[in-house]
Amino acid sequence: MGVVEIEAQQVSLETTPGGLRHEAFHRLIRNPGAIAGAVIVTAFVIVALFAPLLAPYSPTAINLELVSDGCCPGPSWEHPMGVDDLGRDELSRVIYGARYSLLIGIVSVTVGLTAGLILGSTAGYFGRLDNLIMRIVDVMLAIPGFLMAIGIAALMGPGLLSVMIAIGIVNIPIFTRLMRGSILGQKENDYVLAARAVGVPNRKVLVNHILPNAISPVIVAGTLALATAIIDAAGLGFLGLGPQEPSTPEWGTMLTDAVRYLQTAPFLAFFPGLAIVIVVMGFNLIGDGLREALDPKLRGRA
């Protein structure tokens, strides 16, 4: 057996099979926090997808008889989270609210991520317009994110779509900056030079070599941004910039409506608030788990 073969055998004994993504996954599932986050987020997505099957009542069914004795009857067997001022079942509304939060989270992060990827790659890899893009990003980052979201949502007129776009736009500079930094960091690597040296076209170098290496921090930030987006959406809803239809069971809007009954029926604010906290915590736990799992310093180690 030649030296190389012995060497090859030793090497294959030392390392785990599969790629780095595989290893990252193994690190992820050994992290209890990430597991908890995954459970919460999975439950949240299931609730959102199957809301009509899970909700005991319609979220918009008004039943004034229930509130004839004053607002508002607290939790009971028929209505585990109580009913609101119009006699609508709070549990059903919280369940349907998951759909809005999921939608807002996904759409706004997708808007921010897509724009950030394109702008960040243009600035970081091609170097065209680098200064222009980054100065605009600096200006956008100088404005507090939530204030900017309020401004944009107010400009576009209140509504679900405005909320999603507003939060998406607020995310753009964050993702752009992250993507550019990550690409700049990867661009100077030897393997990029080596790929160019065999004549791989620039675009392919970016897509095949740089993005897969540069994307990890963006995945982490994207997960964490989902959590922030849900909070911001609730905030915008609370300020009255969310869905205007009063029957829309959006968590933030529900909180606004609950303010009037905070003294007599605190549970009306408590349950949507709790839902927000749990879901946000779930995304944060996954995000942190991913950050640890994808840490380049741990790469190549089991």
Binding site: V11, N189, Y191, L193, A194, R196, A197, V198, G199, R299
Partner: protein, 335 residues
């Protein structure tokens, strides 16, 4: 004599940095014939690697070729468009980098990176590309090539990664391979294997090789011609045998004298070259080696020496070392 394959004439490369302009390569000229092996020797920062990157058209953004020409098979490299460069790199000249640990992409399998190099230039079907991947890995001595092609770089040892890099460089049968310190990052035992492999491969394909190194032993064993670089200029060039037998430029002599030898006594002091390499932030106006040179005289500081025939080689020196100096000091060491 036939037309040289690669002809570099008065090439200059500058870098614009925050600290000022770096005069990295200051007018070097050389040519390379098909199938020839040329060694470029010099210490860190003397412009060896920059020359290689310039010939591949992959200088960092801060650097640019400011003067001189390089022609390959009659075509001028620096008038090529980016698309022409892309067709050129890998197909005509390929490069092997110093550190195999970092020059393979960690998230792609070795096989897919090899396939990418093949598909960049050859119009082949998926099946043909896969077969060629296995064939190349097999040729560079990777056991169980078909299975190992699916491995990621971190599952390869350093030596195997450098073998894979060689396979990538060979993928499209280039006529010239530039190997930039291909063994510096490897163990000594692996170094010898890699160099043997490289030599076998360029021999059997008639590929020309430019071997960039600071290891004089490697050059002596591998190259027909040698070119010694200092501070962005070629200070001595010629056939390997006369240069190693009788170096005339004081810098080459100093390099040879600074190598520890087994056949001298252990107490024999090493002879480092005193002083430090020159500041590359100013354009050279005198012999760049003069401040460190024991043969330097006043006229060395007045102008830049040009390459001229001295003995059997060419050296850029006004006051070259005596032709028997190296032979004399070497014998002294043994005694």
């Amino acid at each position: 004599m036939t037309e040289p394959l690669l002809d570099v004439d008065s090439l200059e490369v500058r870098f614009w940095t925050r600290r000022g302009t770096v005069y990295a390569v200051n007018g070097i000229s050389f040519s390379l014939n098909a199938g020839e092996t040329l060694g470029i020797v010099g210490e860190s920062g003397c412009g060896k690697s920059v020359t290689a990157l310039a010939l591949m058209g992959i200088l960092p953004r801060a650097g640019r070729v400011t003067a001189g020409t390089a022609s390959y098979g009659g075509r001028d490299l620096y008038t090529q468009s980016e698309a022409e460069w892309q067709r050129f790199r890998g197909k005509e000249i390929a490069m092997i980098f110093q550190d195999p640990m970092t020059s393979l992409n960690p998230v792609l399998t070795v096989g897919s990176q090899l396939r990418e190099a093949i598909e960049a230039h050859l119009d082949v079907s998926k099946k043909e590309a896969s077969d060629r991947v296995v064939e190349l890995l097999d040729r560079v001595g990777i056991p169980q090539a078909r299975a190992r092609a699916k491995d990621y770089p971190h599952q390869f040892s350093g030596g195997m990664r450098q073998r894979a890099m060689i396979a990538i460089a060979l993928a499209c049968e280039p006529k010239v391979i530039i190997a930039d310190e291909p063994t510096t990052a490897l163990d000594v035992t692996i170094q010898a294997q890699i160099l043997d492999l490289l030599r076998d491969l360029v021999d059997e394909r008639g590929t020309a090789l430019i071997l960039i190194t600071h290891d004089l032993g490697v050059v002596a064993g591998m190259c027909e011609r040698v070119q010694v670089m200092y501070a962005g200029t070629v200070v001595e060039t010629g056939d390997a045998v006369p240069i190693f037998a009788s170096p005339r430029h004081p810098y080459t002599l100093g390099l040879l004298q600074s190598v520890p030898r087994l056949d001298t006594g252990r107490r024999q002091a090493l002879h480092p070259i005193e002083g430090a390499p020159p500041n590359m932030l100013t354009e050279p106006v005198s012999c760049p080696f003069a401040p460190r040179c024991r043969y330097a005289q006043e006229d060395c500081l007045a102008s830049v020496p040009l390459l001229r025939s001295i003995g059997e080689q060419q050296a850029a020196c006004f006051h070259p070392a005596p032709s028997d100096e190296w032979a004399r000091t070497r014998l002294q060491g043994v005694a």
